[in-house]
């Protein structure tokens, strides 16, 4: 069973260079288009987290809302870094961990959660275009 970190075994060191650059540029363009469509889903997940945070602050977070929040945070943790927002993944993981804790969320944890979700919100709002930087082309333009 292999267990590989993302930075290892990349295709980036293999193959014909101009062909590889072309495929990287093409992938970047395709991902940029996909990000535009995905921003709505991502924003909806953040909204789910904000609502759960407000319910938690009033001690009204029931199990279905907690489960929805954990699910939304988990999905964000997976997708944001893939779209070039690693800080978004960190913040989403912190939120997931906070909502997974049994019992009410304490004042200090609630403050961290509030701060983290606000940062996450700003991050998504700011990422109007595909966040990952375009690969450098080896082909003269």
């Amino acid at each position: 069973m292999s267990n590989l970190p993302p930075e290892e075994n990349s295709l980036s060191g293999a193959g014909n260079v101009p062909e590889r650059d072309n495929s990287q540029q093409k992938l970047h363009q395709l991902l940029a288009g996909l990000w535009e469509k995905s921003r709505k889903t991502v924003a909806a997940h953040v909204e789910t987290l904000q609502q759960a945070k407000e319910l938690a602050a009033k001690n009204e977070l029931d199990e279905p809302a907690r489960t929805r929040a954990i699910d939304a945070a988990h999905k964000l943790a997976g997708v944001l870094g893939t779209f070039g927002l690693p800080r978004g993944t960190e913040l989403a993981r912190e939120a997931e961990e906070a909502f997974r804790q049994a019992g009410p969320i304490g004042p200090a944890a609630a403050e961290r959660l509030n701060s983290g979700l606000n940062e996450l919100d700003r991050l998504i709002q700011a990422a109007v275009t595909y966040p990952a930087s375009a690969p450098k082309s080896g082909i003269p333009s």
Binding site: M1, P6, S10, S38, T82
Partner: protein
């Protein structure tokens, strides 16, 4: 050689990114499924060279889907790579004990995904 990969994930964005990545970077043929049940059906019909399987899915999660794939003589031979956003050690050990070919982590680098799969499965034609 054109490889065939089945991606099973309930998250639409992840399915699309992974598919674009594998098709564009490696030129593989990608088949998609949005649930464990649909994935088992597709695996049986399409006979992919490998399966990329999400862990956390509603109704039938990744580990349960994996065990059903291995129990089916039509799909038991297909290598399965788990794709997970779960980073805790106990989760990883539990997944490894299932007998999957590899555990890959979300978020992943779209440019590197095909290389990771090739390296794990010893596919020299694409790595």
């Amino acid at each position: 050689m054109t490889r065939r990969i089945l991606i099973i994930d309930d998250e639409d964005d992840i399915r699309q990114v992974a598919a674009l990545s594998l098709e564009t970077v490696a030129g593989w043929h990608v088949v998609l499924a949005n649930s464990g049940k649909q994935g088992i059906d597709r695996a049986s019909q399409e006979q992919p060279d490998a399966i990329l399987l999400d862990v956390m899915m509603p109704e039938m999660d990744g580990p349960t889907t994996f065990l059903k794939l291995k129990a089916n003589h039509k799909t038991s031979h297909i290598p399965v790579l788990l794709l997970t956003a779960k980073v805790q050690g106990p989760d990883q050990r539990r997944f490894a004990d299932l007998g999957v070919a590899a555990i890959l982590f979300k978020p992943f680098d779209p440019l590197a995904l095909a290389g990771q799969i090739s390296a794990v499965l010893g596919w020299k034609d694409t790595a």
